[in-house]
C-alpha cells in the first residue's frame, strides 16, 4: 500500500532495511542466543546516521519526527526487535531533553546522541511503580550544588550501556507525582551504579538493568524544565513515543508473516505445498490483514503526533495497543504455520514470538492503555451529554 512517504522518508526506510538485512540478519540468532549487547550494530546504525533521524538539525540531526523514527524502528524490528528497541530507547532517552531542555542542555548532549557516540535511556519504572507510574520513590533532594539522588529504577532499557539518562525522581516527596522532576544523569556520576542485567523472554540482545542511586549528586543545571513537572513530562513523552512501539509491532509482524509465507511455500505435506491449503491460506490472509491495518494505524498516529496536535493520547495508545496485539497474534500464528520447525531455534519465528510479548507490556500495558482510551471516551461523552 502506498503511504505517500516523501523522498527523505523513503530513503530512511530503505537504508534501515538494508542495514537490517545486510548487517543484523547474519548475527540475529547469535545476539539472541548469547544475550550480547549489539554494539557492532549500534556502530553501524550510527555510521549510517540513523541516530540523527530523531534529532533537530541544529544539534546535528536530520529533523525527523515521530513518523521517521517509526520507519526506522519498523525496518529494524522486521529483522530483530531487540536491536530495534535498543535504537528506539536512545530516542526515548532524549525526547524529554529535546522538548524541555534549554539550548545549553541540548548543545551539551544532543550532538553526541545524534552521532551515535553515546546512547541515552529513560528511567521512570521502579519496583513499586509500573503501571502506577506516579508511585515512584526515588528522590532527588535539593542540596547545595545540585540534587542528591537516592533510589532504584527497574527494567531500564539500555541501562548500563547508555551514557545519558533521563531520570524521573521526586524533588518534593511531600507532593507525590506533583513533586516529580526530570533530571539528566550521566553514567559514571559518583553514587550511580547498575544492578543486575535482567534475563528476559525476548528482545534478549537489548540490555535491561536496574539503576541504583546512592547519594548521587547531580548538578542543578541537569534539571529538565521546571521542577514538579516530571510526571506530566513523562506522560507527554509516552504519548509521543508509543507509535514507535506500534512500529516495532508492525515490523515484527511483517517479518513473521514473511517467514511463515516462505515456509508455507516450501513445505510440502500430502504432496502439496502448505500454501495451497485453504486452512493455511486463511491464516496467512488474516495475518496480512493485521499487519497492514497495524501499519496504517501506526503511520496515521505518527503523522498525528507530527502535526503538532495538542492531544495525541488516544491515537498513540490505539496504535500501540493494536499493533502490539497484532504482533503477538501474527507471531503465534507464524510459529503454528511453521509447525515443529517453527518451534525450533533454527527458525526465526520462535524468537519473533518471544520478542512480541513485551510489546503488550512496556510503555504502558495494553490494559492500562485501553483504560486511558475508555476514560477519554467517557469524558467526551460526559461533556456533550
Amino acid at each position: 500500500m502506498d503511504y505517500f512517504l516523501d523522498e527523505q522518508q523513503k530513503t530512511i526506510k530503505a537504508l534501515a532495511r538494508r542495514i537490517a538485512e545486510e548487517r543484523i540478519l547474519p548475527v540475529r540468532a547469535e545476539l539472541d542466543e548469547k544475550e550480547e549487547f549489539p554494539w557492532d550494530i549500534v556502530k553501524e546504525l550510527a555510521a549510517a546516521d540513523m541516530f540523527r533521524v530523531f534529532v533537530p538539525e541544529e544539534y546535528d540531526g536530520l529533523n525527523g519526527g515521530c513518523l521517521e523514527l517509526c520507519l526506522v524502528v519498523e525496518e529494524l524490528s522486521r529483522v530483530c526487535s531487540g536491536v530495534a528497541v535498543t535504537y528506539a530507547a536512545s530516542a526515548l532517552g532524549c525526547m524529554t531533553l529535546m522538548e524541555y531542555g534549554t539550548d545549553e542542555q541540548k548543545q551539551k548532549y544532543l550532538p553526541d546522541i545524534a552521532s551515535g557516540r553515546k546512547l541515552s535511556a529513560f528511567a521512570i519504572t521502579e519496583p513499586t511503580a509500573g503501571s502506577d507510574a506516579a508511585n515512584i520513590k526515588t528522590t532527588a533532594e535539593k542540596v547545595e550544588g545540585g540534587y542528591l539522588l537516592n533510589g532504584t529504577k527497574q527494567f531500564i532499557t539500555n541501562g548500563g550501556e547508555a551514557e545519558i539518562y533521563t531520570v524521573i525522581a521526586l524533588t518534593d516527596k511531600t507532593k507525590g507525582a506533583r513533586g516529580a522532576s526530570a533530571i539528566i544523569v550521566e553514567k559514571d556520576t559518583p553514587g550511580f551504579t547498575f544492578g543486575k542485567k535482567e534475563k528476559k523472554l525476548g528482545i534478549r540482545t537489548s540490555a535491561t538493568r536496574e539503576l541504583v542511586f546512592k547519594n548521587c549528586l547531580v548538578p542543578e543545571e541537569n534539571l529538565l524544565g521546571k521542577p514538579g513537572l516530571g510526571f506530566i513530562q513523562a506522560m507527554r513523552l509516552f504519548d509521543r513515543s508509543r507509535p514507535g512501539i506500534g512500529a516495532q509491532g508492525v515490523g515484527l509482524a511483517q517479518g513473521a508473516l514473511e517467514a511463515a509465507t516462505d515456509y508455507a511455500r516450501e513445505r510440502v505435506q500430502f504432496k502439496q505445498p502448505l500454501i495451497t491449503m485453504p486452512v493455511i491460506q486463511s491464516m496467512l490472509a488474516d495475518m496480512a490483514i493485521q499487519v497492514e491495518a497495524a501499519r496504517a494505524l501506526v503511520y496515521a498516529a505518527a503523522r498525528h503526533v507530527d502535526s503538532g496536535a495538542r492531544s495525541v493520547t488516544e491515537e498513540s495508545a490505539m496504535a500501540k495497543v493494536f499493533a502490539s496485539d497484532a504482533a503477538m497474534k501474527v507471531t503465534v500464528d507464524a510459529v503454528q504455520i511453521c509447525g515443529g520447525s517453527g518451534y525450533m531455534r533454527d527458525y526465526p519465528v520462535e524468537k519473533m514470538m518471544r520478542d512480541a510479548k513485551i510489546l503488550q507490556i512496556y510503555e504502558g500495558t495494553n490494559q492500562i492503555l485501553r483504560n486511558a482510551i475508555a476514560v477519554n471516551l467517557r469524558k467526551r461523552k460526559a461533556r456533550t451529554a
Binding site: Q8, T11, I12, L15, R18, I19, E22, R23, E44, A47, A48, D49, M50, R52, V53, L62
Partner: protein
C-alpha cells in the same frame, strides 16, 4: 592526496539477456548496480582519504544513467564525480575504455593514486586497470589486498599471489586494482545520500577530453564482439558395466572408434 576511483555500472543480476542482433546486453528493465569489485575500490579510496586527507574523485564511462552509480559513490564518501558520456564512446572494448579513462585522468588537476576493482562482473576481463596504467605510463599493482602505507610519494601494498602475498613498494602516481579481501565496504549514510542527491556531477564528452574520434568507442577498439553464445553441451557420460576385463576391452574399442588410440 588526490585519489581517483574508476568504476563501472553493471546489471545487478546474472540473468542478463543478449540482443542477438547487436551482441550486446539488453539493459532494459534491469536494475543497475556499481560493479561489486569497484565498491572495494571506492571504500579503499575513502579510507585512505579519511586517514591521510585529500579527496576522492570517481570516474565512470557510460550512458547518462551511469550518473546514478557516481551519486552512489558520493553517498559512500567520494567527493567529486565525472561522467564520461558521449555517443562516440559507445561500443568501446577494454583498450578504448582505458584510453578514454586515461584522457579523463590527465584532464584532472592532479592525481596520486588510481584505484580500480580487479575486474567487472559483466565483462570479467580485468584489463582496464593495467591498460590504464600503461597509457598513463605509471606503475601498476594488481590484486591488492591491503594498503599498508601511503607516504612521501610512495605506496606500500600487499598483493595477493597464489600461495601467499607479496609486499610491493612503488612510487606515486600509480594504479592499483583491489581484491575483495581488502576491506568490507560501508553502507551509505543518510547524510551521504542527501549530499549525493544535490552533488554536482560533471559530464565530459569527446570534445572536453580533446580526443580524436578514431581513438574512442567502437572505432578506437582493436577488438569487437562478433558473437555471444552459450557453448553447446556435447559431452555425455556412459558407465561401463560387467566384468573388469570386458570393461577394458569395451573401453579400448570405444577409444579406437573415436580415433583416440
Amino acid at each position: 592526496m588526490n585519489i581517483v576511483v574508476c568504476l563501472k555500472q553493471v546489471p545487478g543480476t546474472t540473468e542478463v539477456k543478449i540482443d542477438p542482433r547487436t551482441n550486446t546486453l539488453i539493459r532494459q528493465g534491469i536494475e543497475n548496480i556499481i560493479n561489486p569489485f569497484d565498491t572495494y575500490a571506492i571504500e579503499e579510496g575513502v579510507r585512505i582519504k579519511e586517514k591521510d586527507g585529500g579527496k576522492v574523485t570517481v570516474i565512470t564511462m557510460g550512458p547518462s544513467q551511469a550518473e546514478a552509480a557516481l551519486r552512489e559513490a558520493i553517498s559512500l564518501g567520494a567527493d567529486e564525480a565525472v561522467l564520461l558520456s558521449d555517443r562516440a564512446f559507445a561500443g568501446a572494448d577494454t583498450w578504448a575504455t582505458a584510453f578514454t579513462l586515461s584522457c579523463a585522468v590527465k584532464k584532472l588537476d592532479k592525481y596520486d593514486l588510481i584505484i580500480c576493482g580487479r575486474q567487472t562482473i559483466d565483462g570479467d576481463t580485468g584489463q582496464v586497470g593495467p591498460e590504464l596504467a600503461e597509457m598513463l605510463d605509471i606503475p601498476f599493482v594488481a590484486y591488492v589486498s591491503q594498503v599498508e602505507e601511503v607516504k612521501d610519494g610512495c605506496l606500500r601494498v600487499r598483493r595477493m599471489i597464489e600461495e601467499g602475498h607479496e609486499v610491493i613498494e612503488t612510487t606515486l602516481p600509480a594504479v592499483i586494482t583491489v581484491a575483495k579481501e581488502i576491506n568490507v565496504p560501508r553502507l551509505p549514510s543518510l547524510r551521504g545520500i542527501m549530499k549525493s542527491k544535490s552533488a554536482a556531477v560533471q559530464t565530459w564528452g569527446i570534445s572536453e577530453l580533446g580526443a580524436d574520434e578514431s581513438t574512442v568507442g567502437l572505432s578506437g577498439s582493436s577488438t569487437q564482439v562478433i558473437k555471444i553464445f552459450f557453448p553447446r553441451r556435447v559431452h555425455q557420460a556412459e558407465m561401463l558395466e560387467g566384468p573388469l576385463e570386458k570393461q577394458v576391452d569395451t573401453l579400448i574399442d570405444r577409444l579406437k572408434n573415436a580415433g583416440l588410440c
